[in-house]
């Protein structure tokens, strides 16, 4: 059942087919994959198209088919290249015109411990075991480096599940000849490669297989019968994990929680039972469950996921619950707290609006199925997962992969602080009559410079996440951003903005393509966290300076409307550009002639260029 239909021309955030939301029924997905696919393909407008190459060490047919379903559900329409059986090495390392012309956006290397050829023998010396380890590692590394060099795209690589037998029993884990030990060491080498290479991501089969049950996961029946190194019944779990990595790479992670209070963050109903009688804390088993769940939620702040409350309670009671001595979460862990008697969907909408986020980027957690239903049915695309019993909340949310981390940037760590700082800015703003005086009082400092290596991850992330203040809504991967940064015929600018309340980090990105004495603005975006701060004028000033340095006399700007970026329809008009064309779908082109004398547009931000 499609519970959210897509809006025309807008980018689909998640399509939200209920059967594909965790906890899903894997058997149902396997049996009905064709009809689910048909349903998902009914309307693909607003989806982003991506080319995904699967290089397999075993049969990958079903992995491809089910991965497609999960990707479509995330608003990503994939086109696949699939290697012949067990050709992952040959396809990557040797000349491959077919893959070259396919030109993948992502390569997924789907291998298993069945692809390890050189295991240690009992008589091998420690040096020999090290050699074997290197031999296996180098084989895979050659694959990754060939892909990185030829296609400059992200690589997703399965690590290894544990072996199906242990010759040495428990000692297999500690003895250098044990397969368990060998696989652990190989997995660590894979992880180390990931730590030093931004384009490389591990699909953690080692974890997923143990989560599923190794004996079932590696059932040899499927290997010997069909050359599947994974139980066919487990494929939805594998494909789901791969889809989560891909959706994260393309900026489709959710951004925060909207949480209920009674029987979600603590046991009992605070309005009826009183603060002294809610169930939380170490004294009893049920209270421990809620404490652990609260700690789990609180940890999310470290990865930039924000917490909000949507509760049917008096505000006074809600805050009293958070002040309970055993509460792990306190009032200031939350950005927006709505505790009143309005319908939850209305509050949810309000929370999203105050955060400048779209509702579907927030995950709704509530123990009450009726509340989940009203929120997910009233607000298109909002996910309200079934979370089970209190002791199951944590795992059911965690396995959903809503906040899968890939291009983790420093801004993610600081996001919660930033939202808190925003609150203070709003308070200050209220004390000024003149808006310009307020801006000056913020004491803003910007750095606007050509793309630099330390910011590539953040820049790529912004191009994938910004929907509202985004003139052309072009998406770029990190390798693409890096490639553009090196090209002479591009003017690239990132903008960082700090003020008296804190550093917002990189908030604006501009890419100008230079053609002789003309500059075309391919990309202009800004994070909504710095709306109405004149940052866009500071960016324009710097762009014009850079153009003048190169002898460019004309700048062309483009606006392509989507359902989300109407706020910048008149952006170029406000920047003093002249409209030169407009087509039926509202796409507009704009021109600006750089005269001798250019009047700076920004007067409130100090800029370092």
């Amino acid at each position: 059942m499609i519970i959210s239909s897509r809006k025309k021309n807008s980018e689909v955030y998640w399509q939200v087919i209920k059967e594909l939301i965790y906890p899903f029924d894997a058997d149902y997905i396997i049996n009905k994959k064709k009809s689910i696919r048909r349903q998902l393909l009914e309307n693909t407008s607003g989806m982003i198209k991506k080319k995904i190459a699967i290089l397999g060490g075993y049969t990958t047919s079903n992995i491809k088919l089910i991965l497609e379903l999960f990707l479509l559900n995330y608003g990503i329409e994939p086109e696949f290249y699939e290697s012949e059986y067990n050709q992952f090495y040959q396809d990557a390392v040797f000349d491959n015109p077919e893959l070259d012309s396919f030109s993948p956006d992502i390569v997924y290397v789907c291998t298993s411990n069945r692809n390890i050829i050189h295991y240690p023998q009992m008589a091998d010396t420690a040096e020999r075991v090290n050699e074997l380890l290197d031999l296996e590692y180098e084989k895979f590394k050659a694959v990754w480096e060939a892909i990185g060099k030829k296609y400059a795209c992200p690589v997703i690589q399965n690590n290894f599940e544990y072996p199906i037998y242990r010759l040495l029993g428990n000692k297999d884990a500690s003895d250098i000849h044990g397969k368990v030990n060998f696989i652990n060491r190989l997995n660590i080498k894979f992880s180390e490669y990931a730590q030093s290479n931004d384009y490389f991501f591990i699909c953690d089969i080692n974890y997923i297989s143990s989560d599923y049950g190794l004996k079932e996961w590696s059932d040899p029946f499927y290997w010997h019968m069909y050359k599947y190194a994974v139980n066919v019944n487990a494929i939805p779990y594998l494909a789901f994990n791969v889809a989560n990595i891909i959706k994260s790479l393309f900026g489709k992670n959710l951004k925060g929680f909207v949480l209920d209070l009674d029987n979600t963050l603590w046991g009992g109903v605070i309005g009826d039972d009183g603060v002294d009688n809610i169930v939380i804390g170490p004294e009893e088993s049920e209270g421990q469950v809620y404490s652990e769940f609260q700690r789990y939620l609180k940890e999310h702040k470290q990865i930039g996921v924000i917490l909000n409350i949507d509760s049917k309670n008096d505000m006074e009671n809600a805050l009293a619950g958070l002040k309970h001595p055993d509460s792990e979460l306190a009032e200031d862990d939350f950005i927006v707290i709505k505790a009143n008697w309005d319908p939850k969907d209305a509050n949810f909408k309000q929370i999203a609006a105050e955060l400048n986020l779209s509702p579907e980027s927030l995950l709704f957690i509530d123990d009450n199925p009726a509340e989940r239903h009203i929120v997910s049915s009233q607000l298109q695309g909002v996910i309200a997962p079934e979370i089970g019993e209190p002791y199951q909340y944590l795992v059911n949310i965690d396995r959903g992969g809503y906040f899968e981390q890939t291009t983790y940037s420093k801004d993610d760590i600081k996001r919660n602080e930033m939202y808190q700082e925003n609150k203070k800015r709003l308070e200050l703003q209220a004390s000024f009559d003149d808006y310009r005086d307020y801006l000056i009082s913020l004491d803003m400092n910007a750095v606007i410079k050509r793309f630099e290596p330390v910011y590539m991850a953040r820049i790529a992330q912004l191009t994938n996440k910004s929907n509202q203040f985004n003139l052309t809504t072009r998406r770029y991967t990190q390798p693409e951003i890096e490639a553009i940064a090196e090209k002479e015929d591009y003017i690239t600018l990132y903008g960082k903005l700090a003020d008296r309340f804190g550093d917002n980090g990189v908030v604006s990105v501009v890419i100008g393509r230079v053609d002789k004495d003309v500059c075309h603005i391919d990309l202009w975006l800004m994070s909504c966290r710095v709306l109405k701060r004149d940052m866009e004028f500071a960016m324009m000033d710097t762009l014009i300076h850079k153009c003048k340095e190169r002898g460019i006399n004309t700048v062309y700007g483009y606006y392509y409307p989507t359902a989300k970026n109407s706020m910048v329809r008149d952006f170029y008009l406000l920047q003093g550009f002249e409209k030169i064309s407009e087509d039926e779908s509202g796409n507009t082109s704009w021109r600006y002639n750089i005269g001798e004398k250019y009047t700076e547009k920004n007067s409130v931000i100090k800029v370092e260029e």
């Binding site: 396997i30 049996n31 064709k34 009809s35 079903n62 010997h224 019968m225 599947y228 066919v232 019944n233």
Partner: protein, 79 residues
């Protein structure tokens, strides 16, 4: 379960796996009769049949079914 009742359930499996509501299988049906029934789909079919009837085929059976009738014989022995 008699053969006839079993066929009713088996037909549902075929219709799901091949996403075609017009499929009607009988003893003499083979892979040649159903367009999408190749070796890769055969895996999905076997898995789906096993799930539906709560049984597990052995390797020899999966490799040697000559037609749907033989598959039905094997299922009847297991349920």
């Amino acid at each position: 379960m008699d053969r006839e009742a079993l066929y009713v359930k088996l037909n549902e499996v075929f219709r799901d796996v091949f996403d075609d509501d017009s499929i009607v299988v009988c003893d003499t049906t083979t892979a040649d009769d159903i367009e999408d029934w190749d070796s890769l789909e055969h895996i999905n079919l076997v898995v789906a049949v096993e799930k539906k009837f709560g049984i597990k085929f052995n390797m020899g059976e999966v490799n040697n079914f000559k037609n749907v009738g033989e598959m039905v014989d094997a299922i009847l022995l297991k349920i």
